[in-house]
Symmetry: C2
Subunit: 317 residues, 2 copies
DNA sequence: TATATTTGCGTAACTGATTACGTAATTTAT
DNA sequence: ATAAATTACGTAATCAGTTACGCAAATATA
């Protein structure tokens, strides 16, 4: 048992499996004790049939939380013992309707005493334990139903990665990375256009000197993401969010989200009331990100970019 | 989930299995998330090796609570990946000593972040739950270690059966069952002797009228056990416990224990100070029963029975 | 009304564990 | 010193579940 204490709760899966084995290992002998000719694995199916008259294979599977092939196999075994009977549903020829046979009903009476004693034994254990296993399982089922372990781990990973990401202001030394990261994705999905070259070759003159901003995301000190806020000469919009690019190396490290959030925050601190952006719907992760930040789809703005097929805005205030 | 609430805690085994599945099902994907090329089932072995240098197959099996073939297989898979190395123990040629390879040690570093995040995710679930699963599992492991489920169920069955057993005084209508139950076991293991016939054919004259007693055990109203207390003409002993017989139909229903206890109690209520009995060591369940009641082995008493190879006494006071 | 999609369920293959068994090495007993 | 028992561990068979797949029936859609 020592092992588990050392590894920590990561091992909860293994530990659960072992407890399950321990609880289950005597089951066959318990049936023998009551002279009941039944395999432990049949029990859930059997019990589901005792309750609710006849049921189809799929209904049984859903009831007991197994896959349907599992139920199918169990039923064919119980059929051999004569505990159940099958019949095709007349209205729906696919359905195999199963119910307890006369012999099955007899067994269900015999099994009652056993259930009483097993229940009493388990209640005894529960009573001796300080912590309630039954209720704890229920809670875990509920919590995992709401958000499974994978998603929780992904979140934790993001949180931890975020701590390693630092968002800094643009400096001339970042010009090369600002250019290359953008060229990378643009030429992967589209082709570079006139306006791209202008902005990427001379960010100082084309963006910063016009009253815009550029932020750079450092992951453990290495610049892996860039994003620009371009001053717009427009009645409605103050800035355009553009030239956002994150290195594939930084994928899944939450860099995009942190970068975009920072740029929105920047705009807000500058007193902007509305931000505009242009993108393309084939860039799904990007669109999702904008959506998450609160950007809404708009239309009708003229654009110099051929690749633009969606326009979005964010009310900053 | 409804199902489990209805069946009651009997289904705790199934429910545990399902929770185990749910906790485990994402494991493979979690490894993928961190780009770690490892199968979830390797983890316990892997972890055990990270901790404690080199270990043999059997040591690993004991550490992680698996069977040794399981570990053997896992090691051969990890060997293919180059994560571990094997070597025969020079001092003991049977032992296969396993340790992490250089590549294995590297992986163990990469895996650290993953462990941190998984642990955090599980702690988060724990924090959201009112009942502590981890601690509850620990308690159940402990309680089942002390007394496994089978033994607990056996005890509960005995308790319940005891309620159905009633011990009553001998009546003439029980003479036939008194005779037949005794004839049954005596002639199964030995042969009937002169003294047997005397007592069984005329319990009234041979036992009761001499100051002895006979008790009958009824199981759900049916007489299934008998036991006699024969008055002895002896300095040391007041009564002999004899002609105890329980029907095979009542096996495992605690009838023997209740009957014998009642007869001892009877002797006590009559002011007896010492009870004597004769038996044979091939009747193991009977000897165990006498032992449980407190009878001790003695020797030296002359006996009319050929089948007697053990004599016992109980100090009643 | 024809066609595509969905549903029910059986069979087959796979999975992660187990028990059973055999062999070789070591230890214990005679 | 030899025989008997125990131990280490690999292979094979088994087990209780799963996923993958395919067929046939029913339902939805064009």
């Amino acid at each position: 048992m020592n092992f588990f204490e050392e590894v920590g709760k990561v091992a909860i899966g293994s530990r659960l499996r072992m407890l399950t084995d321990k609880v289950t290992e005597d089951a066959a002998q318990i049936y023998k004790l009551y002279h009941i000719d039944m395999q432990p694995k049949w029990f859930p199916v059997f019990y589901a049939l005792v309750q609710g008259k006849e049921k189809t294979i799929t209904e049984l599977a859903k009831d007991i939380g197994h896959s349907h092939p599992s139920v199918s196999k169990i039923i064919s075994e119980m059929l051999k013992k004569g505990y159940v009977k099958e019949s095709k549903d007349k209205a729906d020829g696919r359905r195999n309707v199963v119910s307890l046979s006369k012999k099955g009903v007899e067994i269900s009476k015999e099994i009652k005493d056993q259930l009483i004693d097993v229940n009493a034994a388990i209640e005894e254990i529960s009573a001796q334990a300080q912590h309630k296993l039954w209720e704890a399982i229920g809670e875990w089922e509920f919590l995992l139903e709401q958000k499974n372990l994978l998603r929780r781990v992904i979140e934790k990973k993001k949180e931890r990665d975020s701590l390693k990401v630092e968002i800094v202001d643009y400096l001339p030394k970042y010009q090369e990375i600002f250019r290359s990261l953008n060229v990378e994705w643009i030429s992967k999905y589209f082709t570079m256009e006139e306006s791209d070259y202008k902005a990427l070759d001379d960010p100082q003159g084309y963006i910063l000197d016009q009253g815009g901003f550029i932020l750079v995301a450092l992951y453990e000190g290495e610049p892996l993401g860039v994003c620009a806020l371009i001053k717009m000469d427009d009645d409605e919009y103050d800035f355009e969010l553009a030239k956002m690019a994150v290195s594939p190396k930084a994928q899944g490290k939450n860099v995009g989200f942190l970068l975009a959030s920072a740029i929105v925050e920047k705009a807000r601190s500058l007193g902007a009331s509305k931000i505009y952006l242009e993108s393309n719907t084939i860039l799904k992760p990007a669109i999702n990100l904008y959506h998450k930040l609160g950007f809404k789809k708009v239309a009708g703005k003229p654009t110099p970019y051929a690749r633009c097929n969606i326009q979005m805005e964010l009310v900053v205030k």
